[in-house]
């Protein structure tokens, strides 16, 4: 097959991959616009909590991220301790967002992290790539 046929076929294939991925993402990802702070719940260590429950009895922490942004929210390590995880320092924690973005962090990172009232997880010792918006789940791994 000549170049004249291969190049358009590859281009169409790339577009089809991109478009089908867009459809898949659209179909499987809950709408971000429906993610409002007031009525959402977060699953932590297989237990469901509302944001009000979480904020009612966890320790508040203020952090500054490496790019100089201030965040105030509940301390992620305190949150994990309150959900009765055995040996919190023995595990890693996978923080998943409604848009399927997820990052796995260490216990040490959790000790520098917060979960804000609008559902964003941020860390004072990690790059912006570890700032997870629309958090729906924190899994102990």
């Amino acid at each position: 097959m000549g170049t004249e046929k291969i190049i358009p076929i590859i281009a169409i294939t790339f577009l089809l991959i991109g478009i089908s991925s867009s459809i898949y993402v659209y179909a499987t990802t809950p709408s971000i616009s429906s993610y409002t702070a007031g009525d959402k719940s977060i699953t932590i260590n297989n237990q469901q909590f509302t944001i009000e429950q979480i904020f009612s009895d966890a320790q508040i922490r203020d952090i500054v991220t490496p790019d100089g942004i201030n965040f105030s929210g509940i301390a992620l390590d305190d949150l994990i301790i309150k959900t009765n995880v055995d040996c919190p320092s023995c595990h890693e924690y996978k923080i998943a967002a409604a848009d399927s973005y997820e990052k796995t962090v260490t216990w040490e990172n959790m000790q520098h992290g917060v979960l804000t009232e609008d559902g964003t997880a941020a860390f004072s010792d990690l790059a912006k790539a570890f700032r997870i918006k629309y958090v729906i789940k924190i899994e102990v791994v």
Partner: protein, 218 residues
């Protein structure tokens, strides 16, 4: 092609690319526009295509990526700017690999279908490749480390986000191929050398001054 002319061409186009990534990219990221797609489709692929058409040399775009990546290192915006720099260099390498088999005079791209297709392939390939490189390198540079499952679950998002870049590339490459009419070898040395040196130096000075300004503000 005179070697010195070629080296200055690499520095010029690499500097223009690095300048657009650091200065324009920072402002674009603060808007609601698809900044990554625009940066890859318009600036990265656009400038690499123009340089390929003008200089007709393989390997030049990889060199441009190295220059642009080096310039990115001078901009302290973002936590892992070394990762962004490596991602830019990766885009140069990906472009080089995609265009490697084409002839130097690019006769294969005479037809619009071919040039549009090549724009889609180059832009989508560079965007997805660069994005994946960043998603691997940034966690590796952090204490949390890299976890392959975090990347795998995010792959559909990356593939989906590449569509605007592909469409932009499909427009930009045919437009960039119009620069074929310019014969860089015929440009007089007394114009070429001062002009390329001045524009390249201006790019570097603006980026460095911007970096000093940002560091003072922080």
């Amino acid at each position: 092609m005179n070697k010195m002319k070629l080296i200055l061409g690499i520095i010029l186009f690499g500097s223009l690319w690095g300048f657009s990534e650091t200065i324009l990219g920072t402002y674009l990221h603060n808007t609601s526009l698809p900044a990554g797609s625009i940066m890859t489709g318009v600036f990265a692929v656009g400038l690499m295509t123009i340089s390929r058409v003008l200089y007709k040399q393989r390997g030049m775009q990889l060199g441009m990526g190295l220059v642009a990546g080096a310039l990115r290192l001078f901009n302290p915006c973002g936590t892992c700017f070394i990762c962004s720099a490596i991602a830019i260099m990766a885009e140069g390498l990906i472009f080089e690999l995609i265009w490697y088999k084409l002839s130097l005079d690019l006769t294969e791209l005479k037809k619009t279908t071919m040039s549009v297709s090549m724009g889609i392939i180059a832009s989508y390939g560079c965007f997805v490749g660069g994005y994946i490189v960043t998603q691997i390198l940034t966690p590796l540079s952090q204490s949390a480390g890299f976890h392959i499952e975090n990347l795998i679950v995010f792959i559909p998002q990356i593939l989906a986000r590449g569509v605007p870049a592909a469409l932009i590339g499909g427009i930009v490459v045919p437009a960039a191929l119009m620069s074929k009419k310019i014969d860089i070898a015929s440009v007089k040395d007394k114009i070429y050398y001062p002009l390329t040196a001045t524009v390249s130096a201006a790019c570097w000075i603006i980026v460095i001054l911007n970096a000093i300004f940002i560091l003072k503000v922080i």
